[in-house]
C-alpha cells in the first residue's frame, strides 16, 4: 500500500516536475554561456531528449534488427540471406503475405470510404457531435476488449439451435433459409471477418480527420456551386472530393501503415489459426514461441521495406507543403 502511494506520487507529481525541471536546468546552464553563443547551443539542448529517445528506441533497434536478420536463431553464426530465403518460401509466411495484402486493400478502402461517407453525411445533421462520438467510440476500446466484443458478435451454433452470436442471429431471422456460419473458422469468411473488426475500430479516426478537412472547405465555394445549379451528387464528386484529396492521402497512408502493422486483432481473436496469419503475428511467434531471432528480424526488415515507399511519398508531400508555408 505504501508502495502504491509512493508510486502514485511519482506518477502524478514527480514525472511532470522532472520534465519541466529539464528545461529550467537547460536555461540556467545557458545563462553561464556568453550571450552570442546561446542561440547556437540552445536548440540542441531543447531537441536533445527527443533525439536521444528516438535513437535508442527506433534508430538503433532498426539498424540492429537489420544486422540480426543475417544471423542464425540465437545470433551466434552468420547465415547470410538464409533467413530471407526461409521467409519468402515458408508456407506460413506466404499465407501471411497474402493476408496482409487483403488487409491492405480491404481495410484501407473500407475505413477511408466509410470515414468519408460518414463525415459528409453527419455534416448535415444537427446532432453531428453526438453521432460522431458514437462512431469514434471503438477507438477508445482496447483490441483485447474488442476481441471479446466480436466473439459475442461472431458466435456460432449449428443450424437448428438458437443462435447466440449477433451476426448469425440477425442473418438467420431476416434471411429465410440462411445457414449459420462459423465466421472465424471458415477460411472464406474469417479474414474479411477480422478486417471488419479493424474497420469498426478505425473508421472513427478517418472520419474525425476527414470531417476536419471538410470543415476547412470554404462554404462560399459550395454555395456558389449550388446556386449555379449543381446537385449534391455533383458537389460531392466535383468539389468536396478534389478539395479533400490531400487529407484523404494522409488518412489512407495512415491506414495502409496500420494494415501492414496489423497484429492485435488477429492475436486476440484467432492467433493466426485457420489461415488468418499476418506478418506481424508471424514475427511475434518466431520470436517468442520459437525463439528464432534471425527469422523474426528478417520479417521485421521486410515489413519496414514494404513501408519505405509510403514513407518516401509522405516526405515528398511534407516537402511540398513546407514550400507553400
Amino acid at each position: 500500500m505504501a508502495n502504491t502511494l509512493l508510486m502514485a506520487l511519482i506518477v502524478v507529481l514527480g514525472v511532470p516536475a522532472v520534465m519541466a525541471g529539464y528545461v529550467g536546468l537547460v536555461e540556467w546552464l545557458l545563462g553561464f554561456l556568453p550571450e552570442r553563443h546561446r542561440p547556437g547551443v540552445r536548440p540542441w539542448l531543447w531537441i536533445g531528449p527527443a533525439v536521444l529517445f528516438l535513437v535508442v528506441f527506433l534508430v538503433y533497434p532498426a539498424l540492429n534488427t537489420a544486422g540480426i536478420s543475417l544471423f542464425n536463431a540465437d545470433s551466434t553464426r552468420f547465415v547470410g540471406l538464409a533467413n530471407y530465403a526461409y521467409v519468402f518460401t515458408a508456407q506460413d509466411m506466404l499465407i501471411s503475405f497474402k493476408n496482409n495484402i487483403l488487409w491492405l486493400v480491404l481495410f484501407t478502402l473500407l475505413t477511408v470510404t466509410f470515414g468519408l461517407i460518414i463525415a459528409v453525411l453527419f455534416d448535415r445533421v444537427r446532432y453531428e457531435a453526438a453521432a460522431k462520438a458514437l462512431i469514434f467510440l471503438p477507438m477508445a476500446i482496447s483490441f483485447v476488449a474488442a476481441g471479446v466484443i466480436w466473439k459475442l458478435m461472431y458466435d456460432f451454433k449449428p443450424a437448428g439451435l438458437p443462435q447466440m452470436g449477433t451476426v448469425n442471429a440477425i442473418l438467420t431471422t431476416t434471411i429465410p433459409g440462411f445457414q449459420p456460419q462459423a465466421w472465424l473458422f471458415n477460411p472464406s469468411t474469417n479474414n474479411p471477418g477480422l478486417i471488419a473488426v479493424g474497420v469498426w475500430m478505425w473508421t472513427g479516426f478517418c472520419m474525425v480527420i476527414l470531417s476536419a478537412g471538410l470543415k476547412g472547405i470554404p462554404t462560399e465555394i459550395l454555395e456558389a456551386a449550388r446556386v449555379d445549379g449543381a446537385n449534391e451528387w455533383q458537389v460531392f464528386w466535383r468539389i468536396i472530393l478534389p478539395m479533400l484529396s490531400s487529407t484523404i492521402t494522409v488518412v489512407a497512408t495512415t491506414m495502409i501503415i496500420n494494415a501492414l502493422k496489423a497484429f492485435d486483432i488477429i492475436y486476440v481473436m484467432t492467433n493466426g489459426n485457420y489461415g488468418t496469419e499476418v506478418i506481424a503475428n508471424r514475427m511475434y511467434k518466431e520470436m517468442f514461441n520459437f525463439h528464432q531471432f534471425g527469422r523474426a528480424s528478417a520479417i521485421a526488415v521486410i515489413l519496414l521495406l514494404a513501408i519505405i515507399p509510403i514513407m518516401l511519398k509522405n516526405i515528398q508531400d511534407f516537402r511540398r507543403q513546407e514550400a507553400l508555408r
Binding site: V11, P16, M19, Y22, V23, G24, P39, R42, P43, W44, W46, I47, P49, F53, L54, V56, F57, L58, V59, P61, L121, V125, A131, K132, I135, L137, P138, M139, A140, S142, V144, A145, V148, I149, W150, M153, M164, T166, W200, V208, S211, A212, G213, G216, I257, Y267, A280, M287, F288, S297, I299, A300, V301, I307, M311, N314, I315, R319, Q321, R325
Partner: protein, 298 residues
C-alpha cells in the same frame, strides 16, 4: 390586426412550412445517419448487456433475450472480474503505466517541436524529416534490440522501462503534430514577447503551451488511449509478471486460460473501456479542434 402583424404571421407560417418541408425531405438522411450509428453501436451494446447477465445465460442464449421476461440482470460478473482475477491491481497498474507514458513523450515532444518550429539551427529540416520518417518504423522491429538492452540494464518488468519505451514509440507522431501546430502560431506574437525581454523558457511555458491546448489535448487522448489499450509493448517489456501487468495483459491472459468460459470477460472488458471513454468524452471538443489544426494547416 395590423398589416405588420399579418406579415409577421405569414412569415412565421412560411418558415414553419419551409422547415417542415426540409425536415421531410431530410427524412432519408436522418434514417441513414441513425442507422449507421446503430450499426456501429451494436457490438458495444451487446457487450454491455451481456456483462450484466448471469454467466450461464450469456453462454447459452443471445444477449437480446435479456429484454424479454424473465428479466435476469446481475452484477455477478463485475464482482467476479474485480475480485478473483487481480483485476483491481491491474487497473491501478494501467494507470501507473499510462499517465507517465502520456506526460513524458508529450513534454519531450513539445520541447523538440518548439525548437523545430521557432529556433534556427543547421540541419533542422533534414532532422525533422527523419523524425517524421520514423513514424513508420514498425514497432515489432525494435522489440528484440530494446528487450536485450532492457535485460542488460535490469529494466524489464519495471514501470520505468515501459515509460521509456512508450516515450520512444510515441515521440514521432507527437513531434510531428506539435511542430505543425506550433509552426502555425502567429510570428508577431513571438517577436513582441522577445522584444519585451522574455526568455524562450517564459515564451514556451506561458505563451506556446497555453495557446496549443487543442493540439496537446488531442495528443493526450491519442497517446493515453494507445498506451492504455496497448498489449504488445506491455506483454514484451513487462514479461508475465502479474504484479505490474496492466489490464490488457490480465484480460488477454484470462481469454487464453478460460477458453470456453470467456463470458466472465465481458465485465472485465467493459471495465477496461470505461476510463478511455471518459477521457475521450471529456476532451472531445479539444480533440477535434486539435486534429483540425494539425491536418489542415499541415
Amino acid at each position: 390586426m395590423t398589416t405588420a402583424a399579418i406579415a409577421q404571421a405569414r412569415e412565421r407560417e412560411a418558415s414553419l412550412s419551409a422547415r417542415l418541408a426540409r425536415a421531410l425531405s431530410q427524412g432519408p438522411l436522418h434514417v441513414v445517419v441513425l442507422l449507421i450509428c446503430a450499426v456501429w453501436l451494436l457490438p458495444s451494446v451487446g457487450l454491455l448487456v451481456s456483462s450484466f447477465r448471469p454467466a450461464r445465460l450469456v453462454a447459452s442464449t443471445g444477449w437480446w433475450t435479456a429484454f424479454t421476461p424473465p428479466f435476469n440482470f446481475t452484477l455477478g460478473m463485475y464482482r467476479e472480474a474485480l475480485s478473483t482475477s487481480g483485476m483491481a491491481q491491474s487497473f491501478v497498474n494501467s494507470l501507473f503505466i499510462s499517465i507517465p507514458s502520456t506526460v513524458i513523450p508529450i513534454m519531450i515532444a513539445a520541447f523538440a517541436a518548439y525548437a523545430f518550429a521557432w529556433m534556427k539551427f543547421p540541419g533542422r529540416d533534414l532532422l525533422f524529416v527523419i523524425v517524421v520518417g520514423l513514424l513508420v518504423v514498425p514497432l515489432q522491429m525494435t522489440l528484440i534490440p530494446v528487450l536485450r538492452l532492457f535485460n542488460a540494464l535490469g529494466l524489464t518488468g519495471t514501470f520505468l522501462g515501459i515509460w521509456l519505451a512508450h516515450t520512444g514509440y510515441g515521440l514521432p507522431f507527437a513531434v510531428y503534430l506539435l511542430r505543425n501546430f506550433f509552426g502555425a502560431l502567429p510570428k508577431d506574437l513571438f517577436e513582441s514577447v522577445y522584444l519585451d525581454g522574455a526568455s524562450p523558457f517564459t515564451a514556451f511555458f506561458w505563451l506556446v503551451l497555453p495557446l496549443s491546448v487543442p493540439a496537446l489535448a488531442s495528443l493526450v487522448i491519442f497517446q493515453f488511449m494507445w498506451v492504455w489499450n496497448d498489449l504488445l509493448v506491455a506483454l514484451i517489456y513487462l514479461g508475465g509478471t502479474p504484479k505490474v501487468a496492466p489490464m490488457t495483459v490480465t484480460i488477454s491472459n484470462l481469454v487464453n486460460s478460460l477458453g470456453g468460459n470467456w463470458q466472465v470477460l465481458t465485465a472485465a472488458a467493459f471495465i477496461s473501456m470505461l476510463l478511455p471513454m471518459l477521457v475521450f468524452f471529456s476532451m472531445q471538443q479539444y480533440f477535434v479542434r486539435g486534429i483540425l489544426a494539425g491536418s489542415v494547416k499541415g
